[in-house]
């Protein structure tokens, strides 16, 4: 069908000039080369994406009512999401997690570490860099279990205390069931530990491109370290900062495994939007509702990304 329509349009353009004909041919060859990739993209990406938008407008579920014959419910799922206190709670948790662990923790700490590593000798760089990157290289599941053993034990517990509680014991401090008593703080710290390496590497490569002459010239003109940082380094790194914030925001918003392993995914104070979505879709089997939440997560990510681009006034 489509091929026929294309053929007709080709016939129609044929009386045109030779040069435009050649151009058309080039476009056609280009399209032909792109076709396999395009088809794959359509079948496996855009198709499912459109499908999930459709599903989010139905009451589709895996079992119970709505499983055999999903009904069109319009925007009902989205209305329900905004009336669900648990979703608003999860949104709050996700944003807290994002701001403290990614934007403040990873980005700032990563930047400071990159500064610290600048112009140091190789051995120092290799050791410090190595330690930080290890945290980034190990799989999420392993990192989760590492942290839960590190934070294990607590007061009155008959189980062996974890490393942190042993340290507390040595210094005569009270023990805590860290993960149960301070879950939000603990997942934030664990994620800072885990993700700082990425920001650090990005900033390190950004700092490489800051010309030394510029900094020297600024110093000669009487600029102190703060002024040099504020007026020379940061403006030059604007693009890097925007890229970093964008990437860590999107990856933190879609984070799931580390927190799920640490908390079992079911504690109201640590339930990220992704965990909430997973529970609704695959524990309560509400596929339609889960799809609606997934779309909202994308919206949150998109809004934040646009915000960064606007605030930092960069062109992508």
């Amino acid at each position: 069908m489509q091929t026929k329509a294309q053929a007709i349009s080709i016939e129609a353009t044929s009386p045109l000039k030779r040069s435009s004909n050649r151009q058309n041919k080039r476009i056609r060859i280009g399209l032909l080369c792109l076709a396999p990739a395009m088809i794959v993209t359509f079948v496996f990406m855009i198709g499912p994406a459109l499908w999930s938008i459709y599903i989010s407008l139905t009451n589709m579920s895996l079992t119970g009512a709505g499983a055999a014959t999903p009904q069109w419910v319009g925007l009902q799922n989205f209305i329900q999401v905004f009336h669900d206190g648990e979703f608003l709670g999860a949104l709050r948790v996700s944003l807290t997690y994002l701001v403290f662990s990614a934007l403040i923790g990873q980005a700032v700490l990563g930047f400071l570490l990159a500064l610290l590593m600048r112009k140091r000798n190789r051995v120092f760089k290799a050791i410090l860099g190595g330690i930080i990157i290890v945290a980034w290289v190990i799989p999420d599941v392993v990192a989760g279990f590492l942290w839960s053993t590190f934070l294990a034990g607590g007061p009155q517990s008959v189980l062996a205390p974890g490393t942190l509680n042993v340290i507390m014991q040595v210094f005569g401090q009270p023990l805590h069931a860290w993960l149960q008593d301070y879950p939000t703080v603990m997942i934030i710290i664990a994620n800072i530990w885990r993700g700082t390496a990425f920001s650090m590497m990005l900033y390190a490569s950004g700092l490489e491109s800051v010309p030394d002459e510029l900094l020297e010239a600024a110093a000669v003109d009487g600029a102190g370290p703060w002024v040099r940082m504020w007026s020379v380094i940061l403006p030059l790194l604007k693009g890097t900062i925007a890229t970093d914030l964008l990437l860590i925001t999107l990856s933190t918003l879609s984070d799931f495994t580390l927190v799920f392993i640490l908390t079992g995914g079911s504690n109201a104070s640590t339930e990220l939007m992704t965990i909430y979505q997973y529970r609704q879709a695959f524990q309560f089997y509400q596929i339609g509702y889960g799809s609606a939440i997934a779309l909202l997560i994308i919206v949150v990510g998109a809004v934040l990304s646009l915000l960064y681009i606007r605030l930092l006034r960069i062109e992508l």
Partner: protein, 458 residues
């Protein structure tokens, strides 16, 4: 030139579509018995290391079918996944007639949801034609697979919940080593005796809070609530009872166990971790660090030779008692059962053959061998005189509990209600009063099932 290009374009497109079509059909799978036999597909969960007892069972069923010259060929299709993902995959298979198998392993608890979804075929006419079923299956086991008046499965194994206690610790605390608490208070008093006389031991465990999920609800809360006069769900009015004296009393019991000043339960790092189940069965009990545990009949499976923590001495050390009702009201004790069944898929093209297979699989000897192998309690009464089954420690005690066992209201809304129960438990653990926690529960459940489907008890 133009034409050639046009053709090339067309052909490459065709090629891509043909390729895709081949790939997609390959995904669909096909079943074309070349032998003239009827193929019956069986789907079950397979997880962890071998031996896979479901597979062994079905192999024996095939042998027996062959011996009787039936023309049925079983096709085993294990889904290799943990429990949660098993249902996701199973439900996806059951949705479409193209992928629906004939026989499926179902958690009795999801039968209501899957029947509502139209995934399962009612077995009433088949079961009526098979007198053995009505005669041998415990009435409670027949009821558990019944939803809206139709029976959707045959139970092949069940479990019960009870009070485990460590006799060595009881001796040290000056408590009787043959113990049967008559009321909730008896349990609390024994726990207090342990706390004051045996240091370094957790007096009792009652699963509680959100991380332990359904274990908190079923092994914890419902073992209490079902021993009061108030139900979780009123089957007569078909409404959820969102507020009652029994509910509040049950929460008060939880609060007493987890009161920080006089902590009887495990500390938060154990109780509020998702690993609490393993910690209790694999560490605290075998290491003699827990005196009383309200837990499942499946624990000995963990301690058997070849189990996760072999502990042959458990038979001398661990005592079993029935869970009492709140003040010893009739019927004096309470237990809950879950368990597994096999059901016939609604889309199955071979329902008659599938039922024939079910009859063979659930025959006395084959089912007994299976239940012994997986350490299940048999739902068939006559299995209790099979020696291999009878000689298992606790088998007689467990079977006596099955007769009075109760179930969860397995409606589609239940999993969400269950989370709210866990949440109410966690609230009292963390200092809220039972009244406050129950008010929060009432509000949340009303939001889930709708005000029209709730009622208040006395």
């Amino acid at each position: 030139m133009r034409d050639r290009l046009k053709h090339r374009y067309f052909f490459s497109l065709m090629a891509v579509f043909t390729l895709l079509a081949t790939v997609l059909t390959a995904c669909g799978g096909s079943s074309s018995p070349s032998t003239g036999k009827t193929t019956v597909t069986v789907v079950y969960q397979q997880f962890g290391p071998p031996p896979y007892q479901d597979q062994e069972w079905w192999k024996n069923v095939q042998k027996k079918l062959d011996a009787s010259n039936s023309n049925i060929q079983l096709k085993l299709q294990p889904i290799i996944a943990d429990e949660g993902n098993y249902y996701t995959k199973l439900d996806l298979m059951l949705r479409s007639p193209n992928t629906a198998p004939d026989l499926v392993r179902e958690d009795s608890f999801l039968i209501g949801s899957d029947a509502t979804a139209g995934y399962l075929a009612p077995l009433d006419s088949y079961l009526n034609s098979w007198p053995e079923y009505a005669q041998q299956w415990f009435p409670s086991m027949q009821k558990i697979t019944t939803f809206n008046g139709h029976n959707y499965g045959i139970m092949n194994g069940t479990d019960v919940r009870l009070v485990w206690y460590n006799k060595d610790i009881f001796k040290k605390a000056g408590l009787p080593t043959e113990w049967q608490p008559k009321t909730w208070n008896d349990i609390l008093q024994a726990a207090q005796a342990v706390k004051s006389k045996v240091p370094g031991v957790i007096p009792m465990n009652l699963y509680s809070g959100i991380p332990m999920d359904e274990a908190s609800t079923m092994q914890g809360f419902e073992m209490l609530l079902y021993g009061t006069k108030d139900p979780l769900y009123n089957y007569t009015s078909k409404k959820w009872v969102v507020s009652s004296k029994g509910f509040e009393d049950s929460l008060s019991f939880v609060k007493q166990v987890y009161s920080p000043n006089k902590l009887l339960g495990p500390s938060n790092d154990i109780a509020l971790s998702t690993q609490a189940g393993n910690t209790v069965s694999q560490q605290l009990l075998p290491q003699g660090k827990l005196a009383i545990a309200i837990d499942g009949s499946w624990l000995p499976g963990t301690w058997a030779t070849g189990g996760q923590v072999p502990w042959p001495a458990w038979q001398q050390t661990m005592g079993m008692a029935k869970m009492p009702t709140q003040n010893g009201e009739a019927p004096t004790n309470v237990t809950l059962s879950g368990g597994w069944s096999y059901s016939i898929a609604a889309h199955s093209p071979n329902k008659d053959a599938a039922f024939k297979v079910l009859q063979v699989a659930n025959s006395k000897d084959l089912l007994a061998a299976y239940d012994v192998a997986v350490a299940n309690i048999a739902p068939r009464q006559d299995i209790s005189d099979v020696p291999a089954y009878k000689n298992q420690p606790g088998a007689t005690f467990f079977s006596s509990l099955v007769a009075v066992s109760q179930f969860r209201p397995a409606f589609p809304a239940y999993p969400k209600v269950s989370v709210q129960i866990d949440s109410a438990m966690q609230q009292v653990m963390q200092g809220k009063s039972a009244t406050e926690a129950m008010a929060a529960y009432e509000q949340a459940v009303t939001g889930i099932v709708g005000a029209a489907n709730t009622e208040k008890g006395p």
